[in-house]
Assembly symmetry: C2
DNA sequence: TTTTATCTAGATCTAAAGATTGATAACAAA
DNA sequence: TTTGTTATCAATCTTTAGATCTAGATAAAA
C-alpha cells in the first residue's frame, strides 16, 4: 500500500490509445514526472490486456474510443483479472452515458483529453492513493445522468399506485415463491397448505394486481419494488 | 434562470435542522453573504415541506438526521412537488449509504456539518448555477459505494456463463415476448407463426437456459442482463 | 455436395394453471 | 352481535403450458 510514498518504487503506468501520436505525447508528459514510469503502451485493447497481465502495472490509462474491441469491455476484462490495477478512462467527449458506464464497471477515474496535463497528473496521484477521481465538471455530468435514471423510474411508477400494498401477508408469501418460479404444488409444500388454497391465494393476487397469469404477476412484483432484488440493476 | 447573476434578486434559502442552535448559526453565517437570504427555518420536516410550498425558495438546506419524519423522505416529497427547488443535504457523518440515497432521490449537493463555512457557501453557489456539488471526499465515498453495488452483482454472475448468448435470434424474440407476459397464442399472433412453432421455440429456450417453465425463463432473462429493463433499479 | 443450424409446423399427450362457486373457521372491528 | 377480513379447503371445469416425436424448407458452412 501507499506505493507512491515509497521513493524507490515509481508508479508503473500502461497507456492505451489507438492514436499513436497521442500515445507518445502522454508518455513524454508522464515521464517528466520523477515518480511516474510508463512501462508499456498499446494501440489496441487486446494487446493492452496482455500487457496488463504480463506487467501488472499500478495504473492503466485507457482511451475508450477505439476500433475493434472497445475500451469499456477492455476495462471489464481487466477488472475481472482482479489484479488491483487501477484504470483511468480517457476520452474526447464528456458524454454522461459513457462516464456512467465507465464508472459502473470500475474505472477509478475519468478525464478528458482536452484537460490540462496537470489535471491528468493530479488524477493519477489521487487514484494511486485509493481515491476515485472525477473532475468537478464530469462529476456533475455523472450525477445529472444518475439522478435522471432514478427520476424516470419514480415518475413512471408514481402515476399508478403500487398495488402490492393491498396484498395480505399470506398473499405476499405466495407471491414471493412465485417470483422464484415455484409451482402451485411447490408453494403448497413450502407453506404447508393444500394446492387449492394456493390457487385461491393466487387468484386473489391476480385480481389485486390486475393481471392474468403468474408471469405477469411476477413481472409486476419485480418492476414495483418487490423484495427479491437487492442490488443495482442496469441494462447494457 | 441564472438568478444569482441578477443583482436585485437574492438566493432564497430555507434551513431545516432539528438543532435550533445550529439553525441560528447557519442563518447568521449565510446572511453575511450579500446575495443570500434565509427566508425561513424549520426544526421539523413536515413544517419544512409546508414552508417550501408556501415560499418556493431557491435552495433548501436539509439536515438528514431528524426525529419523526426523516430528511430523506422529506427530500422525496419536496422533489415530487416539482417546484425546481434545489436541495442540499447536510449531516454529521459521511456514511456512503446515506450519501448514495440522498443523491439518488435528487439532492443537488451533500455537505458535512464539520466542513468549513466557505465550502457551504461555495456549494450553494455551484448548485444555484445548476451544478451538482459533492466535495471530493464525499464524491469518492459515493463512488466506492456505487462501484461496490455493481461489483457484487458482476461477481455473482461471473461464475456461471450467461446462457442467453446461446439463443438464436428468433428465440430471443420469443423470450422477449415472454418477458412481457404474453401467452403462446399472443406470441404466435405477434410473430405471425403458428402456436406449435412457438412451443417448439419455447422448449428450446427452456433447454438452453436450463429451466422448466416460462416464469423461470423470464427470471433468468431479467437477472442476466436481458434487454427489457432500461433503467436503474435499486431495492429500498 | 453433404452437413449443420435454424425456422417452421403438425400431432398427441400429460401436467399445470386458472376460473368459479361454495363453505368453514378465526379474529378483529363496528 | 353483526360485519368484514383473512386463511383455509373441496369440487369442477376450461384453458394453457409443456414434453416429445416427426418432418419439410432454407441457407450457410464444411
Amino acid at each position: 500500500m501507499r506505493r507512491n510514498m515509497d521513493y524507490n518504487k515509481k508508479t508503473k503506468i500502461i497507456l492505451v490509445d489507438d492514436n499513436f501520436d497521442h500515445l507518445l505525447g502522454i508518455r513524454e508528459l508522464l515521464n517528466l514526472e520523477t515518480n511516474f514510469e510508463v512501462i508499456a503502451t498499446a494501440t489496441n485493447a487486446n494487446i493492452a490486456i496482455n500487457l496488463v497481465k504480463k506487467y501488472q502495472p499500478d495504473i492503466v490509462l485507457m482511451d475508450i474510443n477505439m476500433p475493434e474491441k472497445d475500451g469499456l469491455s477492455a476495462i471489464t476484462e481487466i477488472e475481472h483479472l482482479n489484479l488491483g490495477v487501477k484504470i483511468i478512462s480517457l476520452t474526447g467527449y464528456d458524454d454522461p452515458d459513457l462516464i456512467f458506464r465507465a464508472m459502473k464497471i470500475g474505472a477509478k477515474g475519468y478525464i478528458l483529453k482536452t484537460m490540462a496535463s496537470a489535471q491528468l497528473i493530479y488524477a493519477i496521484e489521487e487514484v494511486m492513493q485509493g481515491k476515485i477521481y472525477l473532475p468537478a465538471g464530469l462529476s456533475s455530468r455523472f450525477f445529472e445522468y444518475f439522478q435522471k435514471s432514478f427520476k424516470d423510474e419514480s415518475v413512471s411508477n408514481q402515476n399508478q399506485e403500487n398495488l402490492l400494498q393491498y396484498l395480505t401477508q399470506r398473499e405476499d408469501e405466495v407471491l414471493e415463491l412465485l417470483t422464484q418460479g415455484v409451482t402451485y404444488k411447490g408453494v403448497a409444500r413450502q407453506l404447508f397448505i393444500s394446492e387449492t388454497t394456493v390457487k385461491t391465494h393466487v387468484n386473489n393476487i391476480f385480481q389485486k394486481l390486475q393481471v392474468n397469469d403468474r408471469t405477469q404477476a411476477v413481472l409486476y412484483a419485480l418492476n414495483n419494488g418487490f423484495k427479491n432484488r437487492k442490488k443495482l440493476k442496469m441494462a447494457i
